[in-house]
């Protein structure tokens, strides 16, 4: 049948199971917005295009589907950049559709023309400029296939305005993909699995490093079974949180710059690292020259370019985490590894007394871990999903909230993009209407995404927004305190009255200034059926401990000063 370019875009969305699009209209995408009225696609009108990309990312993480954002040419498309870069770093399947000036104007510096495929080339898994409507059906189908298969990622399709209006023959089922250079899946060999098992069976002090790839591959059961069979402790990356329940005794929890000291100590003393679906980011390894010097490394990843990129692997296995671990399981001999596990327990006990903040006693202004622990206790039985922004609160959330299930924490990991939290929560709440979606955000990141409160109201989303207001860009302030001799440079930040702001936008506003108000406020917020803006006035100059300073070894950490006195070892 004959279809216009705009219809082809929308029918592809239907065929790919996409019923939500996050976007913002403009000149070069108008034909598609016109056709939008004829299709049962729910369009979420964000207040800034960057947030369309963040919301599509949040939607994708929460739903497991492809997130779609749609904007106009020029400024609309350039505003997507941060969101696409984040989706690229965190391997999130997003399809971005951008309008482009008419094909006969391309290259003439026309009004609102930007070379968007050029701009987004390094921050997308792949991208397309469509100047001929005959190419559009194939391109659209390829875009979804590439975004979601293999190592997922963002794909951008830049569609000229005249292409959206022209017609061509369209039969979705008849389209044969032809991607001779695209190899999303590959076979893993028995020989590699056998060698990996031999490493594991002879290891005395193994640690599994569990990354986002486990969640993306839905390999949680295989991970747990492998760990339990070999009694191998698991350290997770930030995005690997939830790959195994945080109450599982073998889950050491988060590693890296703000991982607890015992986790990093275990990695540094390991004789074998089994890295699965993680990429040895510098925030995870500390100084590479001193990283896990006694350890052999097995690196399992679906992306061959990750193997031996940062840490040279003794054995690299390119493959799907679920398939590889399932293959490995019967070859791994049951062990108790009692000596290794009890050594880690000794380190853990030390951490408990030195670093973990008491979340039971807290005077005057609460500290953020206290609030996060209170949110955790209130929501732990519920179907709750936490979205964080970026900074101190993000690290405290990772340390103090205990995630039991995968995809229960959405956070901007690789890119660390402030302003991610609120728009990502919009996407997440739309993906999981029944879930209790909480955003934990600092006063800096909140103000980056402030206009999206209007989107939350327009969409009637019951998102609970907990602002941790300390009057500082906290993580930068912490670095200035610890590394730049407390020379505070542009980190003090004023915030408008959040109660008045809530009132202006029409959502419920609440404030807690004392620790003893926190629990009641959370209870009250949860009883509100609609969105709530919570203003937690928290301790101003608190630091996230422990912390690996840049360039230092993973177990050479700033520990909490004077902690012996304050600690209770909860």
């Amino acid at each position: 049948m004959q279809r216009t370019g705009a219809q082809i875009i929308l029918e592809t969305l239907m065929r790919e199971g996409v019923d939500v699009v996050f976007g913002y209209p403009g000149g070069a995408i108008m034909p598609t917005y016109d056709s939008l009225l004829d299709y049962p696609v729910h369009h979420v009108l964000v207040r800034h295009e960057e947030n369309a990309a963040f919301a599509a990312d949040g939607f994708a993480r929460a739903s497991g589907k492809v997130g779609v954002c749609m904007v106009t040419s020029g400024p609309g498309a350039t505003n997507l950049v941060t969101g696409l870069a984040g989706a690229m770093m965190d391997s999130i399947p997003v399809v971005a559709i951008t309008g482009q000036v008419a094909s006969y104007l391309v290259g003439t510096d026309a009004f609102q023309e930007t070379d968007v495929t050029g701009v987004t080339l390094p921050i997308t898994k792949h991208n397309y400029l469509v100047t001929d409507v005959a190419e559009l059906p194939m391109v659209m189908k390829e875009a979804f296939h590439i975004a979601r298969s293999g190592r997922p990622g963002p794909v951008l399709v830049d569609v000229c305005k005249d292409v959206q209006s022209k017609t061509t023959e369209f039969d979705y089922d008849a389209i044969q993909l032809r991607l001779p250079g695209y190899r999303p899946h590959r076979q893993t060999y028995d020989e590699q699995i056998r060698r990996a098992a031999a490493y594991i069976n002879t290891a005395q002090r193994p640690v599994i490093l569990a990354g986002h790839g486990i969640i993306l591959a839905a390999a949680h059961d295989e991970l747990r079974a492998l760990a339990e069979r070999g009694q191998i402790p698991i350290a997770t990356t930030l995005l690997g949180i939830g790959s195994i329940s945080e109450s599982h005794p073998l889950n050491l929890r988060m590693m890296g710059m703000h991982g607890e000291a015992y986790v990093n100590e275990a990695i540094q003393n390991a004789d074998l690292l089994i890295a699965v679906g993680m990429r040895f980011d510098d925030r995870v390894t500390g100084n590479l020259a001193t990283y896990a010097k006694h350890a052999d490394v097995i690196h399992i990843d679906i992306d061959p370019a990750e193997i031996s990129k940062n840490v040279i692997a003794n054995l690299g296995i390119v493959g799907d985490a679920k398939q590889v671990m399932a293959g490995l399981l019967p070859l791994v001999e049951p062990r108790d590894r009692a000596a290794w596990l009890s050594q880690i327990e000794v380190w853990r006990a030390d951490t408990m007394t030195r670093d973990i903040l008491s979340t039971t006693a807290c005077e005057s202004a609460p500290h953020v871990p206290f609030v996060i622990d209170a949110i955790h206790r209130a929501t732990r039985g519920a179907q709750a999903l936490i979205v964080t922004d970026v900074g101190q609160h993000q690290m405290w959330e990772a340390q103090y909230y205990r995630h039991e299930r995968p995809n229960q924490l959405l956070t901007s990991g690789g890119l660390g993009a402030m302003g991610y939290g609120i728009p990502a929560a919009i996407g997440a709440q739309i993906a999981r209407r029944e879930d209790e979606v909480w955003v934990i955000v600092g006063d800096g990141g909140f103000q980056m995404a402030l206009p999206e409160l209007a989107t939350i109201m327009q969409e009637e989303l019951p998102v609970k927004i907990a602002v941790m207001r300390n009057g500082y860009l906290g993580m930068v302030r912490q670095w200035q305190e610890l590394i730049h001799s407390r020379r505070y440079s542009e980190v003090a930040i004023k915030t408008p009255d959040l109660l008045k702001l809530a009132d202006a936008y029409g959502l419920a506003g609440m404030r807690a200034t004392r620790a003893d108000e926190v629990n009641d406020l959370i209870t009250e917020a949860r009883s509100v059926p609609g969105p709530v803006l919570m203003d937690f006035v928290v301790e101003e100059e608190a630091n996230v401990y422990p912390m690996v300073a840049p360039g230092k070894a993973l177990n050479d950490m700033y520990r909490r000063p004077g902690a012996e006195r304050a600690a209770t070892g909860r």
């Binding site: 080339l121 991607l179 250079g181």
Partner: protein, 210 residues
Amino acid sequence: MAFVDRTTQRPRAPHVLVALVENKPGVLTRVASLFRRRGFNIESLTVGHTDTPELSRMTIVVDTSKTDASLVQANLFKLVNVVDVQNVTRQPAVMRDLALIKVRIDQQTRFEIVQLMDIYRAKIVDVCPESMIIEVTGPEAKIDSVVEMLKPYGIIEMVRTGLVAMVRGSGHFTGPTPDENGNGHEHEVGSGSNGYHFDDDSRLVRSLGM
């Protein structure tokens, strides 16, 4: 980070990669952008047509004293438009560079240079009273040698194409055929192999079977 040969402890010799890429707009940009953003050091890159109109062929010489060739290969492999990548460094291959060299001449030096160029089987493709253009083809070392010989006469300008390479024998490098889902898959090379494996340093390398 400098990579040294494990046996000689000297900087590693350059590696030669051959890539088959889809003949589509922007593919060269994708490859160049990859090298730039990953900080890969490339000595030369040539691109040209193949016998198949849909495919172009690149020969890439990687400076392995600073850049790991397997990482370059794996990253190229990831690009959707790159159909196949082969490291031909350790394979018997014909490797050729072509140079055009414009050299200053006079009455005395003209015949001297012509004789000299005969030794290299180089061709004189243009001549005028003050200069001539010499065309010379061969392995890079040969071209280097010609350049050294001509320098005393005065090189006015020079251009080199960069290396092109082809593996000897009747095996052919045409890239994989797509599977039923339209995705590329590797050549069947020996039983149970996808054509790539990890060597002792755990680097992705192409299996050498034909």
